[in-house]
Every structure is written in C-alpha cells, then in structure tokens.
C-alpha cells in the first residue's frame, strides 16, 4: 500500500459501514468492506449488478486492485464511472426529483426479481448523467430476507414522497426544504404543511399523514421493552411488500404540478428586444462560445439559464452544460423539454447565484456548496448582471469577482440602465446605482477579467463581452 498515492475519503461517505468512497490522485474508488462480503457476492451472483448497469439504472464500475483500499477490512475495491457534475436533491425541479424517485423504485423492483432488496433510498444516491437519473451507490443492495418489511420505506417517504407531495399540492418551491433537512423532510412537518384535501388522496393519506401519526405514536414507546414496536417483530410477506412498493410507485406517478406552475405563456421568451436582436445575440454568443471551445473548453455553466435557449447553443458548440436558474418553474420546464428531446448534454439546476447552495451536513462538508463544485471552463451570464447589480444590490466589482471564481472564461451581457428590463427593476425603487453604466461595468470587470472580444447586440443597446479571468 505504501507506494500508492495518498487516499482521500469523500466527506459524504461515512454513514454506511459496508464501504466508502475515496479518491486517489483525483480518481474515484469505492472500498467494499468484509462485513458486506456475502451481500456483495450475492449482488454479483444474482446477476443484479450486471442487470442494473446494463439498463442504465446503476452507474457502471470496474474492479480495481484490492491494495488500492485505504483502510483495513476490504473485500473489494471498485472504480465507478465519474459523474460530470454532482447535484443534490434540493437543486432539482419537481420532475427531476420525481424521476429520481421512480428510478429508486425501479431499482428495487429489479432487485426483488433477483432475491435482493435496496438497503436505503436516499435522494443523494441518485445523480443525473446524460440527462437521466442514475443510482451511484453500488453498495445499496443486499439479500432480501423472508418476512422482512421494506427497510428504506421511511427514508423513501422523507427523501422523495414528502417533498414531491409538497411541491405538487402546496408550492413548487418547497423542494428547498431538503436543504434544511439533509435526512429528508420530516413527515410530521409535511403532514402539517399539506392541504387538508390531501387527506382524501389514498397515497398521501397513507404514506404521509398516517405515516407521520404512526411515527409520533411509536416514538414514545421506542424505549419500552415490550412495546411490540421492535423492528424485528414486524413481518411482512413478499406479496405484501410488492403491493406496498406498487402503491408507492402509483402514488409518486400520480403526483403532478398544478398546470400554472409550468405552462406560463410566453414565460421563457419574455425579452425586451426584437427578432433581429435575438438573432444577433444568438450569433454572437455562438461565436464567443466556439472561440472558448476552440481553446479546449468542455464545460459551461449557464447562470440564469431560464429555459435554456443559450444552453442549447452552448451544447451545440460542444459543451456539457449546467443550466442554472433561480426559478423552479423555468428549471422544470427546461428539464421536461430536454427529457422530451432526449438531450443529454444539458443539466438543468435550481440555483440562485446570489445565494448559491451552501455546504451542508456533518461538519459542513458532507454536501459541498455550489461554488466548491465549480468545474466549468466558461460561465455564460446573459441578462444576469442587472438582476444582481440592481435587483440584489451587489456592486459590479463583486459580481465580476464571483464570476471569475466560477470559471476562467466568461461570456457576459451588459444591459444598460435605459433598457426596459432594467427600468422594470427600477420601477418601484429609488435609483441608487450611480455606477451602473457601461464605463462603470468595464472598470469593475477589469479588476477580475481582461476583455477578449466584444460586440453590440443589433437593435438594442446591450453589449456582449467575452472575457478571460486574470490569474
């Protein structure tokens, strides 16, 4: 082991004693521990491993040398395929979370057919790869035991069903509760927040309302010796377990966002410029992105992507695109459109660049902040700067500084004060933005970037810039 490069354990991989994830020289590995040897062997011999990977339900992996294991007690080491960008459930729109939930149930169904079962149903075990959800925890499967209930039931309800029900029946923004509750939305809270009418919907009534009541009721007798609530005393036939899982699947599939959430007319295309202006903007953005691609750029972050008009241009220029937006309805619409088109290179993400996802969990390192996950070669910031500078009072120099932290290249749009979109932001407030001018913008950005290319957008007073961060 001594001649191996140092291993660094992934900070989010500590809960499960069956193994853990680590990196050596940037390469991702997973150690499987001896305590899990029998289940790992069954995972292979049942054909489940191969079937899951074959159907794209589980991320592929290849065996690695056992002496790569950084800790004692390894029975195997594998090298899973890397995911281009790691995202978290609180950064997904409704349909992304719903697809992740259905994927989890699909994995369980495939496991059931082979005498295996899921050991957990965490939202963090799902990632998006090429536009589709995929399980990343290869150690999530164990042999099913006769008469055993579905152990991840509670976790599934807290990580998936509760936030989905809240988004569908209360408000699309409530997925963000997952940011506060890393172990999933507490069911008593979900039950309280859900509208009364959901008590008459069989799935939600059972899996959330009654489930929450049962939790509260049995929390008290957990310590008593003869409460009958000991997990081992609850048994369930295989048939009933299948019925429960089928019911969960139907419940998830039945959840829909209210129509107004995703079908706002003209919502995406609300712009202040003409068709000629739009064509001109698209042509310039394409030219600038192709120039970055020609220098070897592969990953783009489209910040304020809305429903992805320019993300598509970046994808066409050869980039893998993270399309972030603050508006959950825009992210939802974007995801649905990409899914329908089978687009694989764009990942829509719910994020506010003025308040990026923080690091959460144990020691504040378990789930990395959005800025810590910055891996782009270019940031695309179109019709964004005025929202930050005027909408959020961020000084232009600070906007530039943040964008320079995200990537070495920038394609940015300057929107002058006379522009109707800026005027709209100023409509109800005092104009305290004396420095918000083209000169002020250039001066502020010159502290973090050099301008490589610039072009005015036809038929408007907006200007597009391609910049390179000063090192």
């Amino acid at each position: 082991m001594s001649d191996r490069p140092a291993a660094e354990r992934e900070p989010g991989s500590y809960r499960d004693p069956s193994g853990f994830v680590f990196r050596r020289e940037g390469v991702l590995y997973r150690q499987v521990n001896t305590v899990f040897a029998d289940d790992w062997a069954a995972f292979e011999s049942s054909g489940l491993h191969q079937a899951l990977v074959g159907e794209g339900v589980l991320v592929a992996d290849k065996p690695a040398a056992i002496d790569m294991a950084p800790e004692q007690g390894a029975v195997a080491v594998i090298q899973p395929d890397e995911i281009g960008f790691i995202s978290f459930p609180y950064e997904w729109s409704f349909s992304q979370l719903k697809d992740a939930a259905l994927l989890t149930l699909r994995a369980q169904a495939m496991a059931s057919e082979r005498g295996m079962t899921l050991r957990d149903a965490s939202g963090y075990n799902v990632q998006f790869r090429e536009g589709r959800p995929v399980l990343i925890d290869t150690l999530s499967f164990e042999r099913a035991r006769e008469g055993e209930p579905w152990k991840p039931y509670r976790q599934f309800c807290e990580h998936f069903l509760a936030p989905l029900a809240l988004m569908a029946h209360r408000d699309g923004r409530l997925g963000l509760l997952l940011r506060t509750w890393i172990d999933g939305v507490p069911l008593d809270l979900a039950s309280e927040l859900l509208p009364r009418r959901t008590r008459f919907s069989a799935g939600i009534a059972a899996h959330i309302h009654l489930h929450a009541r049962a939790q509260q009721r049995h929390a008290a007798d957990a310590g008593k010796p003869d409460s009958g609530a000991a997990p081992r005393s609850v048994t369930m036939s295989e048939g009933r377990r299948l019925a429960l899982l089928d019911h969960l699947r139907r419940t998830v599939e039945g959840l829909r966002l209210p129509a107004h959430g995703t079908e706002w007319a003209d919502y995406a295309d609300q712009t202040s410029y003409s068709a000629a202006g739009t064509a001109s903007k698209e042509a310039i953005v394409r030219r600038m992105l192709e120039a970055v691609a020609a220098e070897g750029g592969r990953r783009a972050w489209d910040v304020g992507a809305n429903t992805g008009r320019y993300s598509a241009i970046a994808a066409a220029a050869g980039f893998e695109v993270l399309a972030a937006d603050i508006d959950w309805a825009a992210v939802e619409r974007h995801y649905l459109a990409l899914r329908a088109a089978g687009e694989k290179r764009i990942m829509p993400l719910l994020a506010d660049i003025a308040e990026p996802s923080p690091a959460i969990g144990w020691a504040n390192v378990e789930r990395a902040s959005l800025l810590e996950r910055a891996n782009a070669d270019v940031v695309i910031a179109l019709a964004l700067v005025h929202h930050l500078a005027i909408g959020r009072n961020v000084p232009l120099a600070m906007v530039a500084e943040l964008l320079a932290r995200l990537a070495p290249n920038l394609v940015v749009e300057w929107v002058p004060k006379e522009d109707p979109m800026v005027q709209r932001l100023l409509a109800s407030r005092e104009d305290i933005f004396a420095d918000y001018s083209a000169e002020g913008f250039r001066a502020a950005f010159a502290r973090s970037f050099e301008i490589v290319d610039e072009a005015p957008i036809e038929d408007s007073r907006r200007i597009l810039f391609r910049m390179r961060a000063l090192s």
Partner: protein, 70 residues
C-alpha cells in the same frame, strides 16, 4: 453470518404503519394482478376449438405479456 443490518433507522412507527398499509393495498393489488393474468390467459388461449382460423398466436400476442401494463 450477517454483520451489516440496516445502517439506516427504519423507524418503529414506519415499520408498523407500512405493514398495515401493505395489508390494505395488497387486496386491490392481488385483485388487479388476478384480473390481469386471467385476461392474458384468455388472450393467449382463445376459446379452444372454436375460431380455429384465428387460433394462431400473432407476434403482438406473444409479446403482449407486459409485467405492468400501466
């Protein structure tokens, strides 16, 4: 020997309620499955003897055994 049991807490209340819910939903579940398999048997074996002209299984029929039609 099983050394690794549930590393997550399945929750006492969650275990009990899932057993109750499973018992309830298993009734329509099995009913649906029974209807489905009866339907499939019927489709696969059209009334024996009669309608011999149509008795051969078409390619659609042989493929029409979805594990879940929904």
């Amino acid at each position: 020997m099983r050394l690794v049991f549930a590393y997550i807490d399945p929750g006492a209340g969650s275990l009990i309620i899932q057993a109750i819910i499973a018992a309830m939903v298993s009734i329509p579940f099995f009913f649906r499955n029974a209807i489905r398999s009866a339907f499939e048997r019927f489709r696969r074996k059209p009334a024996d003897g009669s309608g011999a002209a149509n008795a051969t299984i078409t390619p659609e029929d042989s493929g029409a055994a979805p594990s879940d039609p929904e």
